[in-house]
Amino acid sequence: MTSPNLRSAYGASLVRLGKKDARVVALEADLGKSTQSAMFQAEFPDRYFQMGIAEQNMASTAAGFALTGMIPFIHSFAVFATGRDYDQLRNSICIPNLPVRICGSSAGLSDFGDGKTHQGVEDVALMRALPGMTVLCPADSTEVEKMMDCVLDWPGPVYIRINRNDLPFIYPHDEPYFIGKVTQLRDGSHAAIFAAGVMVSRSLDAAAALAPEGISVRVLDVGTLKPLDRDAIIRYADGVQAIVAAEEHSVIGGLGSAVVEALRGVSHAPVEFVGMPDTFGISAEGYPELLVHFGLTADTVANTVKTLLKGGKK
C-alpha cells in the first residue's frame, strides 16, 4: 500500500530506480532523513554520497557524475536545492543539458514550523527560467511514483518539487502518467481551475462545493509545469467564463504565470491567481493552519471562481 506521504513515496521510488538501473546515484546535503534519500542509502551505500551541508559543491559534483555516464539525484529542501546553488544548476548542469535530477523537498510552505528561511515559495519561478529544465510538481504520492519511473531516462535536467506532508490521494494506481501531462480530474462548463501540488485536492474540494450552487467547474492537474503542454492549457481554458490558477507558490513566476504565458495570443476568459502573495512565508503550528493563513484553501479557490463569474474584481 502506497503511503500518502510524498517524501516516503519519493524515497521508495528512488530505491526502485536504483534496483532497475546501476547508473542511479544519490547525493545528499545532510537532510537525508527529511528528503528520504536515506532509504536509498540503506539499500545502496556504495552509490550514496553524503556531500555535507554544501549544496553548491553537490550540484557541480552531480554534473561530474552525469558527464561520466551516471544519473545523479541531488537532494535538499526546495529553497536550498534551487536557490543556494542556482549558478551551479545553471552553468554546470543546464548549459550542457545534463541528466541531473534535483529533488526540492519540503517545498512550498510544507516545512511549516521552520519559517521563511526554509519555505521555498519561489523555486518554480527560478527553475522555470532555466533553459532545458523540466519542472515537475506531483499532487499525490501515486503521482510521485509514476513520475519517478518516467524521470529515469528523461533527457536533460529535471526539478522535482516534493511536499513534506501527507496529501490526499487523487489518483488510482492504474492512472496513466507521462511527463507533460495535464490531467482533467473533473469536467465542468463554467470555470476551469488549473492546479498543482497540494492545491489540486483543494481545487477538487472547491469544485465539489460549488456544484450545489449550480456552478460547474473543471479541474486540471498541471503536474508538469515545464515543458508546459500549451495546447492542453488552451483547450481546457476554452469555453469557460472564468479561469483560476491555484498553487502553493509565489504568484510571480509559477503555475499562474505559466498558464497566462500559455494563453497569450488567444482570446480567453479572465484569469485570477490563488497563490502566495509576493512575500516570504512564516512559522506556524501546523501545515493546514499555514495554508489558511495565506489563503491557500478550497474556500479561497471557490470564492475566486465566484468573483470572476460575477464579473471580476472584488
Binding site: 555535507g52 559543491n57 552553468n91
Partner: protein, 279 residues
C-alpha cells in the same frame, strides 16, 4: 626523469600553442592572453605527454579528463586540441564568432571539451563527481583540473576541496596556475590569500610545488602526483601571467586585453624567437 629530447619536444609545443593563442585573439579584439600564456607548458605537458588521451577517440571512457576551471583561459586548451587535430585548424580564426565552434568559455559544443566551466569555482566540484563515478566504474582514469589563484576566493572551491579529501580522491590532480595577477590587479592587492600551501594541507591534500614554465620539472611532478595514494594532490605552479609576450607579462592589462597590429606582430615575433632559441 624525462629524456632531454622529450622535454625539448614539449617546450616547442608550448611555444606553438602560445602562437596559436595570439592568432585566436587577433588584432583589435579582447582576449584572455595573460592567463592562457601562463599555462602553455602545463597544458602542453598534459595533452602531449602525460594524459591518456587519444585524439582519435575523444569519448573513450578510459581517457584521462582535463578540466579548465579557470575557463577564461580556454584559448590555450583550444590551441592544444587544434594541434592534436580534435578541433579543425580553420576554427582558430572563428573564436567567439557566431557560427564558430569555439565559445568564449569551455562549452560542450566544442569537440574535446569535458564540461562547462568558467563560472569560477565549479571545476574542482565537477572533478569530484567525475572521480567518484570513475571509482564506481573501477576506472584507472585520472582527472586533471586547472584553477587560477584569483579563483581561490570562490567558496565552492573549498567545499570541493573538503569533499575530495573526504572521499580520498587520489585520482584527482589539481593544478594551481599561480600567476599572481587577477582581472583587475595583483592578487596580493585585490584579495590576498596567504599561506596557500598550508591551507590545502590543512584541507587534507597532498601539496606539491613546481616552476610552471620548467617542462622537465612539470613532467616529473605530474608523475609524482599520479602515484600518490590516499589523498588528492594539488600542484602549486608558479607562473608568469602573459609569459612569452613581453608587453603582457606580469600585468593585469592583458588579462583580457586588446592588441594593436604592432603588438600582435611583436607578440608573434617574440614567440617565434623564443621557440627558435630552443634549438
Amino acid at each position: 626523469m624525462a629524456k632531454p629530447e622529450e622535454i625539448q619536444r614539449i617546450k616547442k609545443i608550448a611555444w606553438d600553442l602560445r602562437a596559436d593563442v595570439v592568432k585566436m585573439i587577433g588584432v583589435g579584439k579582447a582576449g584572455h592572453l595573460g592567463g592562457s600564456c601562463s599555462l602553455a607548458e602545463i597544458v602542453a605537458a598534459l595533452y602531449f605527454a602525460k594524459m591518456h588521451f587519444d585524439p582519435k577517440a575523444i569519448d573513450d571512457p578510459a581517457r584521462d579528463r582535463f578540466l579548465l576551471s579557470k575557463g577564461h583561459s580556454v584559448l590555450i586548451q583550444y590551441a592544444a586540441l587544434v594541434e592534436l587535430g580534435v578541433i579543425p585548424r580553420e576554427e582558430i580564426m572563428k573564436v567567439k564568432t557566431l557560427g564558430g565552434k569555439l565559445q568564449g568559455h569551455p562549452d560542450m559544443m566544442t569537440p574535446g571539451m569535458e564540461a562547462v566551466t568558467g563560472s569560477l569555482g565549479q571545476g574542482l566540484s565537477i572533478s569530484v563527481g567525475m572521480a567518484l563515478a570513475l571509482r564506481l566504474a573501477k576506472s584507472a582514469s585520472r582527472v586533471y583540473v586547472i584553477m587560477g589563484d584569483g579563483e581561490l576566493a570562490e567558496g565552492q572551491l573549498w567545499e570541493a576541496a573538503m569533499a575530495a579529501a573526504r572521499y580520498k580522491l587520489d585520482s584527482i590532480t589539481a593544478i594551481l596556475d599561480r600567476n599572481r595577477i587577477q582581472a583587475t590587479g595583483p592578487t596580493k592587492e585585490i584579495f590576498d590569500i596567504p599561506n596557500l600551501e598550508d591551507k590545502w594541507r590543512a584541507f587534507g591534500w597532498n601539496v606539491l610545488n613546481v616552476d610552471g614554465h620548467d617542462v622537465g620539472a612539470i613532467l616529473k611532478i605530474l608523475d609524482q602526483a599520479a602515484v600518490f595514494k590516499g589523498a588528492p594532490t594539488i600542484i602549486v605552479a608558479d607562473t608568469i601571467k602573459g609569459k612569452g609576450v613581453s608587453f603582457a607579462e606580469n600585468t593585469a592589462a592583458y588579462h583580457n586585453g586588446v592588441m594593436t597590429q604592432e603588438q600582435y606582430d611583436k607578440a608573434l615575433a617574440e614567440i617565434e624567437e623564443s621557440r627558435r632559441m630552443l634549438v
